[in-house]
């Protein structure tokens, strides 16, 4: 008995030493959209630098903002930038600011299922907004047909499918709609969940895709990455300079490049409907939310180290996972902003 107890104690002590010796633990929480690349990054960063072990819970942007504001995690992540009220709430609680750092870009694409139509469709902003407002109810409506000459669109009722769970995907989609339509802005607005005028809700990209695939005459929207990985057909969207552009890494990066010249210092920028040639208009950054002041210097250094690595080597992992890389101008600007963290 005694010997076993001694052995156990020794083992525990040893484990304790190993534990204490192991890497610094940093916790983050937030957006689900960039989760695939974040988990890759945190894993790779830990492997190459060995310094910090970063845990990331993909609980959703809203929960990420909430948790970082409450101080239960070291950093947050979001698909839609924090609004002024949320920034103020953070400042009131912590006495210092929280900073946004763009990490990669993504896009949202319209996907549809019209029996007999196999050619990719072109969508004007008016057509998309009209469909999602319920004003355009048939596929052969002139607003849709005029942009798709030569496609035989049926006179069937359109079934609108949107996300039912709050999500950054919905935020980007409705942010775009709010920019191209004053009506949408006044009646529905932008957010992670909105009061949809028409349609059915599916939970997650998977459920929306599943419903669109099996419902004749349906239209929905999903993340570009999800559409690419699952080989879902999607339509082109008319951008601010009048071209119909299909979403891909190049056209999403073009959106970022177009916006980078007017990037504000706090990086809280929406790049939907960005002006420029070859720009896919329903694109967005996704952000890390990092406190400006850390009480724990080792955590601060680890997070700064990670962001520096992410902006350099980390960016190389993006395209394999179907995320668009940050433009150089934005990277340079972020490196400067990193100095604000104390």
């Amino acid at each position: 008995m005694k010997r076993i107890a001694v052995l156990l104690l020794a083992a525990l002590a040893l484990a304790g030493v190993v534990w204490a010796d192991s890497a610094l633990l940093i916790n983050g929480a937030g957006a689900t959209f960039p989760y695939p690349i974040y988990s890759k990054w945190f894993d790779e960063y830990h492997k190459t630098n060995g310094a910090a072990q970063i845990n990331y819970q993909s609980v959703g942007s809203g929960a990420g903002i909430k948790q970082v504001t409450e101080g239960t995690v070291d950093f947050g992540a979001t698909d839609g930038p924090m609004n002024d009220d949320q920034l103020k709430a953070y400042k009131d609680k912590h006495g210092s600011a929280i900073l946004h750092f763009p990490t990669v870009l993504g896009a949202v694409v319209p996907t549809y299922n019209i029996p007999g139509v196999t050619t990719p469709l072109n969508f004007t902003p008016d057509a998309l907004v009209g469909i999602f407002l319920g004003r355009i109810s048939k596929w052969n409506d002139p607003v849709i047909a005029n942009a798709n000459k030569g496609v035989n669109l049926p006179a069937n009722d359109i079934v609108v499918i949107h996300r039912s769970d709050g999500s950054g995907t919905t935020y980007i989609w409705t942010d775009y709609f709010s920019k191209v339509s004053a009506d949408w802005k006044d009646k529905v607005g932008k957010g992670t969940s909105v009061n949809w005028p028409v349609g059915l809700g599916g939970k997650g990209n998977e459920n929306v895709t599943g419903l669109v695939k099996q419902t004749p005459n349906a239209i929905g929207y999903v993340e570009l990455i999800y559409a690419v990985q699952n080989k879902i057909p999607y339509g082109a969207v008319k951008n601010a300079v009048g071209e119909f552009v299909t979403a891909d890494l190049a056209s999403v990066s073009a959106a970022a490049a177009a916006a980078s010249t007017t990037m504000p210092d706090d990086f809280r920028v929406s790049i939907t409907n960005a002006k420029g040639k070859g720009v896919y208009p329903i694109s967005s950054f996704t952000w890390l939310l990092i406190p400006q002041k850390f009480t724990d210097a080792s955590k601060r250094d680890a997070i700064k180290g990670f962001v520096t690595w992410m902006l350099a080597d980390g960016q190389n992992y993006a395209e394999n996972l179907s995320y668009a890389k940050l433009p150089k101008e934005v990277v340079a600007k972020e490196l400067t902003a990193l100095n604000k963290i104390q």
Partner: protein, 329 residues
Amino acid sequence: MATTTTIVPSAGPVVGSRSFLSRLREGDEIARIITFLFAASVVLITLLLVFELWQGSVLPRHKFGFNFFRTSVWDPIFDQFGALPFIYGTLVTALVSLLIAVPLGIGAAIFLAELAPPRISDTLEFFIDLLAAVPSVIYGLLGVFVVIPLMREYIQPALKNTLGFLPFFQGPMYGMGFLTAGIVLAIMVTPYIISVSREVLLSVPRDQREAALSLGSTHWESTWKVVVPFARAGIMGSIFLALARALGETMAVTMVIGNAPVISASLFSPGYSIAAIIANELTEATSNLHYQSLIELGLVLFLLTFILNGLARLLIVATTQRGGGMGNA
């Protein structure tokens, strides 16, 4: 070990014959206190839950008051929150599921308990218990890939063609909606009804059946007129267990109900349930009012379950007194 127990009682400074201390030492009191604490924890957790939900929903309770239950707009952007479509959806889907599951479940239970050979009955019971243990997301998948297409292609058009004059079977047929959610829920709760009802029927005393048979009734008459009424309270219990599951089901419902806050008499129409919207929106609720309104919906669901359970108890008590059956609900 044995030596220590014999030494302690004689060495203790005992005064009274059955004092608290001696009872404590004998273990009865300890067991009583410990088990009491366990039992009390149930009440405590319930109270804590209500308290938390009440505390967590201050903003919408003050802002909307009773209107929260009366209005049907749910708009997180313009801060308008009304619970009516969600209450409606929860109740309608639960009702539809019970309308299907109760006859099905009780019928199957009667067969298994009274008519089937024991070997078949036990084998089937194994599968029923298995069905009851399947995670709800699996039923959701079944709903998305099997029930929804079936509904859209065959069942809904058939219903519209035959019973289309009723308001329940009108409007566009998406495949998703109240009826589909009710059917998926029925598939989920039927095993509960079968399993519990079968046990209750099997526990009806043998002499009850024998008495009926000796009076000249047929096998079916003894089953339907004697055994089933005798087990009524227990069968009711199984139905309310099923109701509770149907009210609170989240994942399977949200995958098939269409998730649109709509109040419509048509069962083809998409709808929304309380549990589904909480699961869908809580993680991304960024404004405090939105977040707290979802918590208030949790409170509403709690109250709904509480009220329906209370009614169930009353019903069981009432029928038991009239029928004199066994009260093992």
